[in-house]
Amino acid sequence: MAIVAQTSKFAKFARPVLAWCIGLFFFFPIFWMVLTSFKTDADAVKPAFLLFFTPTLENYLNMTENYDYWRFAQNSAITAISATFFNLIVGIPAAYAMAFNPSKATKDVLMWMLSTKMLPAAAVLYPMIFLAKGLGLYDTHILVITVVSLINLPLAIWMLFTYFKEIPKDIIEAGQMDGVNTWGEIKEILVPLAWGGIVSTALLIFIFCWNEAYWTVRLTTIDAATLSKLIEGNRAPEGLFFGRLSAVSTAAVGPIVVLGWFCQKQLVKGLTFGAVK
């Protein structure tokens, strides 16, 4: 990839240094958070203990014992997994229809789906609470899962659509000639060939569902509350609990960041709707 005879010695040296600096700079807050999670609350705010301190697991222990942490974590997992699953069940047929059997309206439908994401959640908050309480669904898993799914459904469909569109047209036509019906097309051709794309979509949707903070906080109190609620509840303003805060945050964020590391390529592909390869 390098263009021959163009890089001066200085550039050769400066570029990696600069790149590493920027990389570390961006990663630093996360690093800092993880580091702080191993400090006691008291140590966390002492400048002297910036980098050198006695690490302790006390925050993590506190967290898992006192806060009923596991319930929050479990709810996050249940919500994210169910919502992802639901989005696949609904999204795969929809994306299939749009990719394999497009009509004139298909492009508009896709754009419209995308535009539903621009709806400011705050605008419909109160009706949602009203409905939720009225239907007796407030603070239930069903409600939270449904809402979190619907928020991310457009994204799921878009991503699946771009992956499905990549299946060469003549394989589909060969299938038609061979007498495959709709169900067969999905089962025998689509799913095996787009499997990578389906997995990628699932992973990314899982990440977004897990990270969802608005509705999961406002539509729940105890039963269905997720980790986002735990964190929002923990934002004690004047920083006395940095250690504890970091531990909770690290635990909430850690697995997702690692997952994200594995998903980079799919992220680009899916989120740019395939336009950037």
Binding site: E173, D178, G179, E188, L193
Partner: protein
């Protein structure tokens, strides 16, 4: 079995009509080749017969039954795609057996037919491989196998040899021709290569701009092309055309003479010119001759041991009996 009739068939994409009303009959057991330049509609026509494209108007009959609105798999046809379109995640065995599985055949029967097809195509050793592990020629055979196994009324080939290298192409051409002689099924074959057309076809359909220019056997098209287009399309190197004095002397607006019909060895030819580029293939020599007064450049096919060089003066003797005459509209004059 396998008589296909196209009756006043048209095709439009949106506002643009790409195929004006067209009539064509393909007889049982015929090997018909659709040939023409890019964009002439040959692939579209094939896909309409297959059912992958709708007919904008007109009717399609297969063995007397109206198949205009029938879905592709129910027409009893099989297609071999240019890119083979094999299912990459399935083994050769599964690829070939796929249409049978869709028909609901029993496993035993499927195995039997798949093995038979594989045997006739020399694929027995590759049955468990995936397409990615096969060479181009092998993939081609799998695609053919998948078509054979359905016992179709007719085979449709969409430029099947374009993706193969030159050497392989010649071999596969022979195999397909042999297959036809053996199986006697109707075959419709689309290509832009007129050599394939000439060597394989019982009947050639020459298309341009969605219209049929001429239908006939290879030799018919070679000997009696109906118009300038067909005359220039069939035969390689191209026929030489000349307007002007030589043409009007013979009572035509344009005359045409094939490179192989001009003799260069006699000194007493009626035309004269200067040799430009001389291409020596060993088996033949192609001479490009200028300053003849007929056209900018005349191409001549001469025996391989002829050794004219650039700048040589040359005398040309055309065979009068095979000079083609065309009128001002480009139509053949007898």
């Amino acid at each position: 079995m396998g008589r296909i009739v196209l009756d006043k068939v048209t095709k439009s994409f949106g506002e643009t009509q790409v195929i004006p009303p067209l009539n064509l009959t393909i007889e049982e057991g015929e090997f018909a080749v659709f040939v023409g330049p890019s964009g002439c509609g040959k692939s579209t026509l094939l896909r309409m017969i297959a059912g992958l494209e709708d007919l904008t108007s007109g009717e399609l009959h297969i063995d007397g039954a109206d198949m205009t609105a029938v879905s592709p798999s129910k027409r009893g046809l099989a297609m071999v795609f240019q890119s083979y379109a094999l299912y990459p995640h399935m083994s050769v065995r599964k690829n070939i057996g796929f249409p049978l599985r869709m028909e609901g055949m029993s496993k035993a029967e499927i195995d039997e037919k798949v093995n038979a097809a594989a045997k006739s195509l020399n694929l027995l050793n590759y049955l468990d491989r995936k397409p990615a592990a096969l060479s181009g020629g092998q993939r081609q055979r799998v695609a053919i196998g998948r078509a054979i196994v359905r016992n179709p009324k007719a085979f449709l080939f969409d430029e099947p040899l374009s993706n193969l290298d030159a050497a392989l192409r010649v071999g596969m051409r022979l195999e397909i021709s042999e297959m036809h002689k053996r199986m006697q099924n109707t075959m419709i074959y689309v290509t832009h290569d007129q050599v394939e057309a000439m060597t394989m076809a019982d009947k050639i359909v020459v298309l341009q701009g969605g219209c049929i220019e001429q239908v006939g056997s290879p030799l018919e098209l070679y000997k009696t092309p109906k118009n300038l287009f067909v005359a220039g399309f069939i035969g390689s190197p191209k026929m030489n055309f000349s307007q002007g004095e030589e043409a009007s002397r013979r009572g035509a607006a344009t005359i045409g003479i094939r490179p192989e019909h001009i003799d260069v060895l006699s000194e007493a030819g009626i035309w004269h010119g200067t040799v430009g580029v001389a291409e020596h293939l060993g088996s033949d020599t192609f001479l490009h001759v200028h300053d003849t007064g007929l056209a900018d450049s005349i191409t001549i096919r001469a025996p391989g041991d002829v050794n004219f060089k650039y700048g040589d003066k040359i005398s040309l003797s055309p065979r009068e009996d095979v000079i083609h005459k065309f009128d001002a509209q480009g139509q053949r004059i007898e």
